[in-house]
Amino acid sequence: MLFDKQIILLQKDKVDTKESALNMLANHFQAEDLVTDQFIESVMTREEHFPTGLYVNHIGIAIPHTDSDKVKQSQIGFMSLKKPVHFKAMDGSKELVPVQLIFMLALKEPAEQLDILRKLMDVFQKKEVLTAMLACSNIEDYLSIIRDQKLI
């Protein structure tokens, strides 16, 4: 259910900043009427104050999201990038995180989605899965990875 709109943008190039990456992803959420008009701006603002970059196993991940009142229907979108864009680190450390995997979270009732959220974050600890996500160039392959990880 969290992946049923298939917001899956793979191996994007010509994306030079985190802002353009966030915009591109968020536009898909808006086109599917999953979020309110304030979602994009709210995600951007939040990312500045409470950044979501994670550097795990030499792969940079970001999980941009915002308050649930900007969300109409829960969904998780994905984008992989050929060249990393820089996000600030979630733990506030000075070094920027070169991000190539972005999971945009639109969450209406997070507690109900705990199971999926946990599985998703457990994936961050599996280097081979992250590497496969980075390498995958078609939607079917991506779906089969997340199916293997019991996300769908």
Partner: protein, 93 residues
């Protein structure tokens, strides 16, 4: 009863996951009857942080409370998770 606060920027994503993990850990340690968990966002807690015995955060916090919080990001990445649990246990003693 000890009070343990878990907070992130919005209180919706990372703190939900971290709360789940800590809940299980407390059970394993047989501490779940002695600790009450609270989940919130930074902005709502700034003036109340002294109410808690331990605070775990998965986001950037203002400098003035930095000393009082435990960085919970390792619970998401798995790298250094044990040290986080140790630090929480110390605070709850």
């Amino acid at each position: 009863m000890k009070k343990l606060l878990i907070m992130c920027g919005t209180g919706v994503a990372t703190s939900t996951v971290v709360t789940g993990k800590i809940k299980e850990w407390l059970k394993e340690k047989d501490l779940d009857k002695e600790v009450t968990l609270y989940q919130s966002k930074v902005a709502d807690e700034m003036n109340k942080i002294d109410d808690y015995d331990a605070i775990v955060t998965t986001t950037v916090v203002p400098d003035k409370i930095k000393e009082k919080v435990i960085n919970g990001v390792p619970l998401l990445t798995g790298i250094g998770a044990e040290q986080v649990y140790d630090a929480i246990e110390q605070k709850l003693k």
